[in-house]
Symmetry: C2
Subunit: 433 residues, 2 copies
């Protein structure tokens, strides 16, 4: 993987199965710094700081794993209304590292908060004292290895010195690259909308390529906005949107100990305060946040480890949303379905197998299965126009869409995943990849 | 795969990661015939008949998939106390084939029952009329393809003509080979024990290599005994033993539409009738059936598609058996754990991830993780003797044992699986493998 930044302006790198990534520019109140602490053998940035000079409202969702990383334990204890920064390191997950891992975060937050307070005194008209418990952490990498606290502490001064108050597309790409692990492409997305009469921006970056199967949140995703929105409303927006975005993707059915998706609002757009989640003026904003989150989530799935194809799985007209979701993920996580897609084999019997093992309520005589717009099974019978040669041809596409219509209810779900290739095995059987 | 029978007497073919298979000899009342109907392009047997000339008591367990194959629908309707035969075909699962698939079985059972009745008249002192609903079916192969009813009907005469009343190790291996799909090794097992003063034999054959994750029964397994045991007691024995044998294995987490494990007793051992499942005279027999079933189930897991290693996963001292089972299967089905084992990487962080995502109740400060006899995590802390080099060395073994000790209860579970290799992808991305 070439981390040369300029490559990512190339058509080749901006392109992906789900389209170009967007260029992010400036968002007031967000500052970015990225550096290398040498956590990898190769030269690449591995530490990224998002700094909110005026503070930010925020909301987070975390993995539902019963074993969570030390940084998530840290974040869960934070009760401050505003936070001033989030520090993201790669290579080490700080999971199953115990007290040692937790104490490392104490040391780093103390150190960073002092450095940022000094920066406030230097740069701000009304400098604030920034406290250790106003810093969030996100960690991603190997589980169970000792957390590299000293390598990080040795580089925090440099990290804070390099903070840029004005962002451009270059620094956003650097940030998106700096949080990557086995990802092959940086993941960025943006939207703009209005709240009342005010224009607001929504920017997002994410990472994730393996150990991705949402059980609440998944992978790392960070959404930034200049909207003036309270933390409690941000939390409602995040909880609403997470279900159909980051919680609708899977790469390998494996749920990380470190999953975390956050949204931060700096308020610099100066829209009139919104008092309620149900305020109609918020509708456009909620949709735009959804659009950014879905775009990022799709980018994560399409860059799943070893992916050669991006797969969308729709389950329609189910009795319950839970059934629809179970069917989608039973198909999306089936290694037999995923290898058939890799092999470009329209082996729909494996899709039927996955529907059956999901345990969802269904009536066989009402079940329909489609690939793209091609009907395979219609009301439990092989469609009269079924033609394996045409289906085989369809499987050559980079984007595969599978639709299951249960025709017994009105609930739907859509999941996103990728195929299972030999490269997945290469990546993951490599000693400590 | 070479289906030359004599190869399977070689040391190379008899050996497996879990030891040699046993030679099965004769069991009174069981007859075997195997032929090729040309269902495969290559020359190999694809149709196997087990015929019980004096009838057999029997019990079956089936897949819990909500989409089941037509042969399982057929078998479920059979209410006769004795059955006379089970016909097993490969290459075609007869699943999602609808009425057409079901009617094929009607035709075949009618045809076979007539042929067997004629054979009774020719060979038996007291010939019986064998009825269509005294024939069971097991099917395995591709889902959703038209069932090859004519190819089978054209060969039933030959199949019945070739019935052998006396079995030897050769015919048992032929039967075990005849039911294979992507398996690389035939799976046979036997035990002998006493019921009261009578010696009884228990023979078993099984198949299965992919689409294997038990949800009640899994794959195909057939157990034969000359014991005199009623069908209702056989059912209790099967239900008891299935949990820790065929329902304790997984290859890829995918549950077939066709899973079926059956036990047949001919009664020719002439032991005194057993009235109750709880009769102490039955204890040895139940254990011996368990031994045969476990041996077969392990052979299925160790021959999982692309397997290079056989993996045993134990979860000890859990609050509930369900939790212990969930943890075992969360590890056993994790592609990240399985690829690490393939890569001989003692990446125990992925084991911890799988424990966490299982959702089982645990206390981190009581959690221990071992590989073989090597302690990694002890009461939530990295063990003082932890040595990655020694663990790396351990990973080179063909048999890997992972033990999780939760230390919060008294329930245990053991699951069996294999690693995930590039060959798995090769096998399953091959067009219609």
């Amino acid at each position: 993987m070439d981390f040369g930044i300029n490559n990512f302006f190339d058509k080749k790198h901006k392109e992906s199965k789900i389209g170009h990534f967007q260029d992010l520019e400036h968002i007031d109140g967000v500052s970015i710094s990225t550096i290398s602490c040498g956590l990898y053998n190769k030269k690449r940035d591995d530490l990224v700081l998002f700094y909110f000079r005026g503070g930010a409202n925020y909301a987070n969702v975390y993995t539902q794993s019963t074993l969570v990383s030390e940084n998530i334990k840290w974040n869960r204890k934070i009760k401050d209304k505003k936070i001033y920064g989030i520090l993201i390191n790669t290579r080490n997950a700080n999971a199953l590292t115990g007290n040692d891992g937790y104490n490392s975060l104490k040391k780093i937050s103390l150190n960073i908060s002092k450095l940022l307070t000094a920066k406030q005194i230097e740069d701000e008209d009304k400098p604030r004292e920034i406290k250790p418990n106003q810093i969030l952490f996100a960690c991603t990498g190997t589980i169970g290895e000792k957390f590299p606290v000293n390598a990080i502490l040795n580089n925090t001064k440099n990290l804070v010195d390099k903070i840029k108050y004005n962002q451009n597309k270059l620094i956003w790409i650097k940030a998106a690259l700096g949080i990557m692990t086995t990802d092959t492409k940086p993941k960025l997305s943006m939207a703009e909308c209005k709240i009342g009469g005010s224009n607001v921006k929504i920017y997002g970056v994410a990472k994730g390529s393996g150990m991705i199967f949402p059980n609440m949140a998944t992978t790392l995703g960070f959404i930034f906005t200049d909207a003036n929105i309270s933390s409690s409303i941000l939390k409602q927006i995040l909880n609403l949107n997470i279900k159909t975005t980051f919680n609708a993707i899977t790469c390998d059915g494996d749920t990380s100990t470190n999953d975390m998706v956050s949204i931060f609002s700096t308020g610099s757009a100066n829209n009139k305060e919104i008092k309620s989640f149900k305020d109609p003026k918020l509708k456009q904003f909620i949709n735009s946040v959804h659009q950014v989150m879905l775009n990022l989530a799709k980018r994560v799935a399409s860059d799943g480890e070893g992916a050669t194809k991006f797969v969308t799985i729709k389950c329609l007209n189910s009795k319950t949303e839970k059934d629809a979701k179970n069917i989608c993920f039973s198909i999306a996580n089936s290694p037999l379905v995923k290898t058939a897609i890799f092999g470009e084999d329209p082996n729909w019997g494996r899709i039927a197998m996955a529907i059956g093992k999901s345990g969802a309520t269904l009536k066989y005589e009402k079940l329909s299965i489609l690939m793209g717009s091609k009907i395979i099974l219609k009301d439990g019978k092989l469609d009269k126009n079924y033609n394996e040669a045409i289906l085989s041809d369809y499987m050559k596409n980079e984007n595969i869409e599978i639709t299951i219509d249960l025709s017994i209810g009105s609930k739907n779900f859509t999941a996103y995943t990728m195929d299972l290739s030999k490269e997945y095995i290469d990546i993951n059987s490599d000693y400590r990849s």
